[in-house]
Amino acid sequence: METILVDNEDESLAISTINKYLEERIFDKRKKEVCLVFSKKPTISFFKLVLLSFYDYKSAYLKMIKYEKNTKCNLDRVIIHNGEELVFENPKIIVGNVHRGAVLHIKTNIVFIGEVKGIIFLDNDKSSIYADKFTKAIFVDSYGRKKEFSGSNYLMSFEEMEVM
């Protein structure tokens, strides 16, 4: 894994630093893991720009989920409260938590940079959800199989439900 230290005091300068790094490796065909370390906490808009810089080149993995080139993927900062019921049709990266009692219907890839406690319906064989932390999250797949799971840095998918 390569680690790049990025001074993000000036965000536009930071983006050009990252782009320059990517350009230098444009002919490098090997898969590489890159760890970006920022000098200050990145803002959501800046974080989005960083992710977009990576998407512009080739397929990328984010938290174990592979995103093909030009995948449309939104980044949101949101807390999903108890009682909320949301349907995710498109890939999304979410910075925030899912509270106990919230219900998510997932039809695609979702990444949660945060803790997930709710009830998650994996609606089809392409559904997957990654979270930094699952705490007694309940997963239900389209066959009606139900699993409770706690763990860190885990990708729960339709296939994973079969294995578990």
């Binding site: 807390i79 019921e85 919230a102």
Partner: protein, 254 residues
């Protein structure tokens, strides 16, 4: 068009009704025409907190059943002439109100008033959904307890599910005790803007019991004014003046 705001909480006893009454009165003092609707049909208390219980002649039931017009049922406040109360059922066995009636009442009031505040019942049964149905904004009142936080969390989720996204919190009964949750906990867990933080105050108990006004420039009064200013979109934040600054002001005046 009036701004329709529901004041809700999930948990009972957190101070929804008091907050509704005080914000309503303060908005009226800012020359806004305000109507408060008591949607807590089973356990109505808004009239008591406002000290208006003896002035009620007609109520929501009379309006719905055609025994009185909406104008006849509205009770004018003693202290703020542009504040009106639409009282809930007076009788004990209050049936659930049809949601269409509530919509019709709010539609009628919307053109005449600047603010419609709906005091929602505790819990998340039909009464709650009736109360939130016509609202565009919500104030969720909570105390610094885990049970209150959990219920507020659920209520915020249900409000969002019902397309009410303009949600703000009012934290009530804060006494800075170590046994309470902290404001930082609420901010972190809820991630909802905080409209104001009200201290636990004995004076408010007196105001509730006797329908009196709270003392001018008390901490509670100042915070209610700040909440109202925020609702009105004013950036002005009032802070309590120290004894010294009041003393100097009096000298300058004289």
């Amino acid at each position: 068009m009036a701004r329709v705001i529901v004041v809700t909480s999930g948990k009972g006893g957190v101070g929804k009704t008091t907050v509704t009454a005080l914000i309503g009165r303060e908005l009226a003092k800012s020359e806004k025409k305000v109507v408060l609707i008591d949607a807590d049909l089973g356990l109505k208390n808004l009239d008591v907190v406002l000290g208006l219980e003896s002035r009620i002649v007609y109520d929501l039931e009379d309006v719905i059943k055609g025994r009185a017009t909406l104008r006849q049922a509205l009770v004018q406040d003693k202290f703020a002439p542009t504040l009106y109360l639409l009282p809930a059922w007076m009788r004990i066995n209050a049936p659930d109100i049809d949601e269409n009636y509530m919509s019709a009442i709010i539609n009628t009031l919307q053109n005449e008033y600047d603010f419609i505040l709906i005091d929602s019942p505790a819990g998340i049964e039909k009464g709650f959904f009736n109360a939130i149905k016509n609202a565009k904004e919500a104030i969720v009142v909570l105390t610094l307890d885990r049970t209150s936080l959990r219920d507020a969390d659920k209520v915020v989720g249900l409000l969002k599910n019902n397309q009410i996204t303009d949600i703000k919190l009012v934290i009530n009964k804060n006494n800075n005790a170590k046994t309470q949750l902290t404001i930082a906990d609420i901010k972190r867990i809820m991630d909802v803007p905080i409209l104001g933080i009200l201290k636990e105050d004995r004076e408010i108990q007196g105001a509730q019991n006797y329908g009196t006004l709270i003392s001018k420039n008390s901490d509670f009064d100042i915070e209610i004014k700040n909440i109202t200013n925020k609702l009105l979109g004013k950036e002005e934040v009032i802070s309590k003046k120290s004894f010294l600054s009041r003393f100097i002001k009096n000298i300058v005046k004289s």
